[in-house]
Symmetry: C2
Subunit: 439 residues, 2 copies
């Protein structure tokens, strides 16, 4: 395994896509690398509908922008890979300077490693024996594989210590102590508890304290002013804890990792971590934002607007929505209703329903046109969407069965997991290539 020095993406290019693959209209198997040669254009309705597409220009823009943002704040990026679970996107992120990939589960880690990812921050705990054994076996088999996990309890530390001991792994397992907050998710609820956990790690010969971690991204409430105060206080708590653990000389890693940062407040985390701490060892400050790579038309779009208000380096155009789901009008059963070939199996619905943005009639040479304000997806079933049109509007008269509708989404994570293959398109919706996801 140790000879996997770069992402082994060629196996994906060489795989045969079977008829039935969502988004493609295949009559026979097609090698993935031959997709560009099909000269498919979404606007010509050459694909199947629904189809999920990634706009190449937006993707490249976002990758570049985040790289510069991190550089300007002297933080590194370990983008959360659970968002996309796409080896090709991991590769693009690493080529744009990412320090490693953050992941949420052991199985996600095994997939990333299979495609050559050599540094993983598991933003979660190793609890289950079977899962832990799989990770420890990988660490044993691949000395180049750097793996870090979280913990938030003495119970957890004891479990991991015993499991590493039983495995016979030839190096200690590096851990970050997770600090949380009352009403939050995982994470120690006090600095005192967190320090106790850090000491327990330090005391185990099978474990290594590698850093301190927190996740401020859950502090998204109804009153943003209060949220921001809480986020800043939490970042300070992380820094305080790191200083305390260093003062007690509990860290055992070469660098002290200090990590936070979802996709909502990464500016505040960046600013909070910006001035490298003066500790006994070098500090690596790690952002974990994952959704920046595709951004969206909803939840993160609004959060970026807010970020703009507090951070002069941020513009609303800094991140561009790269992910769209296209569907077709399949029925116009009532004057102000269109039923689309898209449903809960195709687009996120956990934060907002998809946002219909543009329409296009296949065969029409002109560009897609913006839908009027008031067009709204008001419901989705498993495989259908109900688009309500503004009563008596022009679009009520013109929208036909067979017309295309493009929707932006809110929360990329829950759209990515619905598409094993996503088509990459240029600005004219000409299909260039495909990426794969592994959920």
């Amino acid at each position: 395994m140790s000879n996997l020095s770069s992402l082994d993406l060629s196996s994906l290019n060489h795989q045969m896509l079977q008829p039935g693959t969502k988004g493609l209209a295949l009559t026979k198997p097609l090698q993935q690398q031959d997709i560009a040669n099909q000269h498919w254009n979404v606007l010509n309705a050459d694909t199947s509908f629904p189809v999920a597409v990634l706009k190449q220009s937006a993707l490249q823009h976002n990758l570049q922008w985040m790289k510069q943002f991190c550089a300007s704040m002297q933080v590194v990026l370990a983008p959360h890979g659970k968002t996309t679970m796409s080896p090709q996107l991991f590769d693009m992120q690493l080529k744009n300077g990412a320090w490693g990939i953050t992941l949420a589960t052991v199985n996600q880690t095994l997939i990333a490693h299979r495609f050559g990812v050599k540094r993983v921050l598991l933003a979660n705990q190793l609890i289950n024996r079977s899962d832990t054994q799989a990770i420890l076996a990988l660490m044993q088999a691949d000395p180049e594989f750097a793996f870090f996990a979280l913990t938030d309890s003495l119970d957890g530390v004891a479990r991991m210590s015993a499991q590493v001991q039983a495995s016979g792994l030839n190096r200690p397992l590096p851990l970050l102590v997770e600090l949380g907050f009352a009403g939050g998710r995982t994470g120690c609820r006090s600095q005192a508890d967190a320090l106790e956990v850090a000491r327990a790690i330090h005391q185990s010969p099978y474990l290594q304290l590698a850093g301190i971690e927190g996740y401020e991204g859950l502090l998204v409430g109804k009153h943003r002013d209060q949220d921001l105060v809480a986020v800043k206080a939490f970042i300070n708590d992380l820094i305080t804890l790191t200083k305390q653990a260093d003062a007690e000389r509990l860290f055992g890693s070469e660098n002290i990792l200090l990590s936070a940062g979802g996709s909502a407040y990464f500016d505040l985390v960046g600013r909070g971590f910006e001035h490298a701490l003066q500790l006994s060892r070098p500090v690596t400050a790690i952002l974990r934002s994952g959704c920046y790579v595709t951004h969206d038309h909803g939840f993160y779009h609004h959060l970026l607007h807010e970020m703009q208000a507090r951070e002069s380096a941020v513009d609303v155009d800094n991140l561009r929505p790269a992910l769209e789901v296209w569907s077709m009008v399949q029925s116009r059963p009532e004057p102000d209703l269109a039923i689309l070939t898209m449903g809960k199996r195709d687009a996120s619905y956990d934060i907002d329903l998809p946002f219909p943005v543009q329409t296009h009639r296949p065969g029409n040479a002109s560009a897609p046109i913006d839908l009027p304000v008031g067009c709204k997806i008001e419901k989705m079933n498993d495989q259908h969407a109900y688009m309500r049109l503004p009563k008596d509007s022009e679009i009520c008269k013109t929208l036909q069965v067979g017309d295309l509708i493009t929707c932006g989404i809110s929360h990329p994570c829950t759209t990515f997991d619905k598409w094993p293959v996503i088509l990459v398109v240029d600005d004219n919706y000409q299909v260039q290539s495909a990426i794969n996801t592994f959920f």
Copy 2:
């Protein structure tokens, strides 16, 4: 293609499952048929967590029960395959007498055909040229493949007629006219409109009127009494329309297909269709219920309770929940809170959040124990669930990191699509085999 006379499931048994496959804790690739030889038991935590399991006994029971139910009402079953998209479950359904498989999209149809399904009712319309071409090519290549689609507009009929003509297909495309209702989804909004569509199909040499279809399953409102009145009226409307179309001699198929029936009111559809119509040709009454096969702990569980009140042949134990998602307590950060290794990527959340049912400590020889009333999943993130425990209850003291929690789900469709591989277990949670899904 015409030599595929039975489901080609052996390719699935022979496939290599890769490390990283959700629900499995693999350190190296494993041939799927070797799963039973691993002697995994969920209660011993031999799998990865979360893991989705199908209880074999419940599955077999449900298959048998529905077979008898349909026989007793003289209707046939074309179970909606979009629920599971699992070739192994399609095979079980066909072996238990299913007339064919209902599907929602062209790509789902291509997958079913790839695994040998020879009769598909597409409960949707063929609109897009590329998708339609894929189906017509399949019909041309495989003379044994019987395919039926819906339509609800003259536009749709004209599009399909032109596409079949252009394809040179050597047989007409069989269609069912979809009747809908005001405020519903697809489907003609009046008998008059539906008859017009039926006449247009009859007039096209490239199309064949094969039946009448409706979907009463959307009539689930707040007042069940009103819903039931509406469902019965709608079933009568379907029958009236069928009689009218027959009186005009519009049907061109050997049998007249009359289809309705989701998973909420299939008893009413069965009773409504029970007394075979006396028409000019034999009538095949087709139920399309899909969720019966695994049933659930939520939405359909409640609907079955209601069905029991109106149908003496139905008992609440008639269908048994077969699908469970097991996860592990990964953190106990507050006295009445447990964070589970399960999230939106793992279990349905569109109708209800999952229902925690039992807990088990791996290694404990006794059976899982019921969770006390009041244990509740109150939130899920992408990869985490928040289980609230009744304040000051015994479980607050005893539940530990590493304990297992089994959850029932509400709405099987949106759990199936989160699991490429689902483990089949016996009543002791010993893993027997696996099924695959294709989404």
